[in-house]
Amino acid sequence: MPVQFAAKRLGKELNKIQNGLPPGIELVSADNLEEWLLDIRVLDNNPLYLNDTYRLKFRFGQSYPIEPPEVVFVKQADRPIPIHPHIYSNGIICLDLLGQQGWSPVQSVESVCMSLQSMLTGNTKNERPPGDEEFVRANKQRPKDIEFYYHDNTV
């Protein structure tokens, strides 16, 4: 159970989420204050993501929101991993917003979902990050331990 600080904050977020989320974002489950699942859809007609829904897994640490949550896409039969030059095929997302440097405590589950949504919306490249195969095969680290180098400022 996270420290009270985190629990309180998550409780408030959940409350808000249950009162409604922006279009294209849906809460799947939030059975505890450690791991939540949400579905996102890309709303415009981007052919890369048309008619697909993607599942996001949020994991919250005890220092949330001071520290970022761990956010990955999870693969399921009807929930593919979106293709994007910053999303590895194992669901790990390279986004500075989710890293130590880019994260800010004013962000929330909702704002992260919206950022990811817009990240997908704006993408035109039908490709995985460079070295995706190698990374997916070799990586044993948790997303937060990976030292990403955020080089692309266009996202």
Binding site: N15, A30, P105, R142
Partner: protein, 511 residues
């Protein structure tokens, strides 16, 4: 999701206003909530970039990353300034919130005669229909209801619309909501809680109030929130500000300065902690975290209008210790990759990893056992040589032979255990404490030892060696050891104990 459905997790939130006729209060409430904790501002502080956060929130943020969470402008804890006007505003809003919300959710028709109504409709729905106007209700139900409703209720209903624009004004008129405090027409002194007439409070505060605000601070919020706000909102704000100033005049708690941990040695840090009355238990990293957390808690408390007592802060620290500070959950790098989301998990430096409680001492020992052994030998040789130089053979046989018997048995594998043990026996003075860090070299010492009973000297040397070994073990990283090694070699030979004290001299407590 069900877990949170009910009371336990029914957190008050700005969305509470949605679906009530006072939905326009949602943005108002949002403006009173901190962006970090999403709770009402608690001791709001203004940053250099003019953003406001709870004192505790912004201090936590800045201590991790010296940037404003909203605009990423660089800022420092010392530059924070209290936003007292907002504090009062938040206080006033909080105090009136419950009443306002009840008012918005449950229009006072429930007590009206049941005749006209088929059943109790849900509050929000009811309210909504009322707002949309009476045209939706058919005259049959409308009429009896109207007539049976009390004047009071009708007044309340009429004012619902006005309330949307002038939130503060009317709710006090409805006696439904003032049932919490004893209905004696009196108010409680904000400090000693004695009940008295409203007009008497000022005078009482100036002259006869006996209670210390500190003692009362714990109890005060409860009556303050339930009693006064509902009856005399404006009066209450006045009182709040009075209490605020009273508390501040009484005892301005002093803020603690941040420490540059990299400049502090373990002993010095432990000393700082014990000076603060905190536990000196645990790894170096934990000590730093604990100290940091305490400073954050303490300084945030200094900003509060009702500072908590030290014991309460200690309890907060304890809670932190059990969760964030707890090594089992914080050991992220370790096996399983489970959780590992604590603050400590982030530490990636090798120096930090050895200090972790879950650290695999055995593997480490086999890996570096050789160099540990070498260093120990070297240290021993150094002592032997120096005693030899200074005092001739007698000292050598005594210091060297006896000392080795006592200590040579320690295998490298035991070293981490030794270290761990030291961490646990925090209360007892460690050998490091016994050797005064800055005690001047005592040239007479070895001569004294010379005349002493032979059996005692090895003990002394054992302590000395023990210290020397700890010196190597605790810093952990091979770099540090090498550094120590060279510094030892560069030292001019000083006999016996004096050498060890001398060794510590170049590193005073704080640099």
């Amino acid at each position: 999701m069900d877990v949170f459905g009910d009371e336990a997790f029914n957190v008050p939130d700005s969305t509470d206003w949605l679906g009530t006729p006072l939905a326009c209060l949602m943005p108002v409430e949002q403006a009173f909530r901190c962006h970090v904790c999403k709770d009402f501002y608690d001791s709001p502080m203004l940053t250099s970039c003019n953003h406001t956060f709870c004192s505790l929130c912004i201090r936590r943020c800045l201590s991790v990353d010296s940037k404003c969470p909203l605009c990423r402008a660089t800022d420092q804890e010392s530059k924070l300034r209290g936003n007292w006007a907002l504090r009062e505003a938040v206080e006033a809003f909080k105090n009136s919130r419950k009443v306002l919300l009840e008012f918005a959710r449950a229009p006072p028709t429930t007590q009206a005669a049941p005749t006209g109504q088929a059943g109790p409709s849900s509050p929000s729905k009811r309210k909504a229909t009322e707002l949309e106007g009476p045209k939706e209700e058919d005259p049959e139900t409308k009429r009896p209801r109207r007539s049976t409703r009390s004047t009071r209720a009708r007044v309340a209903e009429l004012t619902a619309a006005i309330l949307q624009e002038e939130e503060e004004t009317t709710f006090a008129a409805d006696p439904d909501y003032v049932d919490q405090p004893p209905d004696d027409g009196l108010v409680a002194c904000p400090i000693c809680l004695t009940r008295m007439k409203e007009q008497q409070v000022d005078r009482h505060l100036d002259t006869s109030c006996p209670g210390s605000p500190q003692a009362a601070s714990k109890r005060r919020p409860i009556p303050a929130q339930t009693s006064q706000p509902s009856t005399f909102p404006s009066f209450n704000t006045r009182l709040t500000s009075q209490v605020t100033t009273a508390n501040q005049n009484q005892k301005p708690p002093e803020r603690l300065p941040a420490l540059a941990y990299s400049m502090l040695r373990d002993t010095a840090l432990r000393k700082k902690l014990s000076e603060l009355g905190l536990s000196t238990h645990g790894s170096r990293q934990l000590l730093e975290k604990r100290h940091k957390e305490w400073i954050t808690l303490w300084n945030a408390n200094c900003d509060s209008s009702r500072p908590k007592k030290r014991t309460e802060l200690l309890r907060d620290l304890d809670e932190w210790e059990r969760t964030v500070g707890h090594p089992s959950t914080a050991a992220g790098g370790g096996g399983g990759g489970q959780q590992g989301l604590g603050l400590m998990a982030r530490a990636q430096a090798t120096g930090a990893q050895i200090k972790d409680k879950e650290f695999d001492g055995k593997a480490w020992a086999t890996r570096y056992g050789g160099s540990f052994g070498d260093l120990i030998k070297q240290a021993r040789k150094g002592i032997k040589r120096q005693t030899l130089d200074g005092n001739g053979e007698k000292a050598d046989t005594k210091g060297g032979g006896g000392g080795e018997d006592g200590k040579e048995d320690i295998t490298p594998a035991e070293l981490p255990t030794l270290q761990a043990r030291e961490g646990e026996s925090s209360a007892a003075p460690t050998p490091m404490d016994i050797v005064p860090p800055s005690s001047p070299p005592r040239p007479g010492q070895v001569d004294d030892a010379d005349t002493e009973h032979d059996g005692q000297a090895p003990g002394k040397d054992a302590i000395a060696e023990d210290t020397a070994m700890r010196e190597q073990v605790i810093p952990g990283t091979p770099d540090k050891e090498r550094q120590w090694e060279t510094s030892q070699q560069q030292q001019p030979p000083i006999p016996g104990d004096a050498q060890l004290s001398g060794m510590k001299k170049p590193n005073p407590e704080t640099c």
